[in-house]
Subunit: 151 residues, 2 copies
């Protein structure tokens, strides 16, 4: 097993990582799903994802048959707040991905205080999330989400 | 100007960098062009490329109107051998890109000894280069290059 240098990890994540928040409609409300992930195409890159999983001690690796990629992903709020996000405080990101990290920190802090369960907090989270990862695909338009909670 | 950590650089290059060798036919012989490059799409990533240029103290940044990417590239054999390649000896790459780095070290060493100017050396360089960056595009088929030097 390779032993990754913490600054190497931040550099690699600046290139290949993703800090994002997705939403799904559930029981008349909206579920908020924060995520940290690193994708790699093909099995020959998989040892890096395994080393990341070992380093952070959380998350899991999934294969997507759709596009042949492997993804290391952490979705647990607890793990994001205690293991993933603090890493990049200590070993900073240098690309504009740092902005997405800052936004995910803010969203996780709101969720920790359960503010995603009331309308005002949820709207703030949606507002922030829709400025993240602007090249990524979204299941819902922002307006559609806001409408569904009567806003 | 941001100050990049050397291990951050190796992590970023493991994700976004490229060690390659291209060839072009010239005056009945083949010109060998070793290269280290890092591409980024869009101007908002440009500060990273500028920081890499400052860190390594060589190479240059070009814009490709074709695909809207910016590329930091080092092509000078001297700079590759004295500034770029030794960095990854000290701060190792962890992905399979390390193999391409090793191969570029070997090719640059052969070129330093002027062995690309004789047939045996050139064939060895072509053999190695065509096992690098297997997803990249090539101007010539390997067989076409070998034929053109009568091999």
């Amino acid at each position: 097993m390779i032993n990754l240098h913490p600054n190497w990890i931040s550099g690699f994540v600046d290139g290949e990582g993703c800090f994002s928040v997705s939403f799904s409609k559930r029981n008349g409300w909206i579920e908020v799903r924060p995520s940290f992930s690193v994708c790699q195409s093909g099995k020959r890159f998989c040892h890096i994802l395994k080393a990341l999983e070992t380093f952070f001690g959380c998350g899991g690796i999934r294969f997507s048959a759709n596009d042949g990629t492997y993804k290391y992903e952490v979705r647990s709020l607890e793990d994001l707040q205690t293991r993933i996000l603090p890493h990049f405080e200590k070993y900073p990101l240098e690309s504009i991905k740092r902005k997405d990290w800052e936004k995910l920190c803010r969203i996780c802090a709101l969720m920790k205080r359960n503010l995603h369960k009331n309308k005002k907090g949820l709207i703030e989270i949606i507002d922030i999330a829709y400025t993240m990862n602007q090249s990524g695909k979204r299941k819902y338009m922002k307006e559609e989400l806001l409408q569904s909670i009567g806003s």
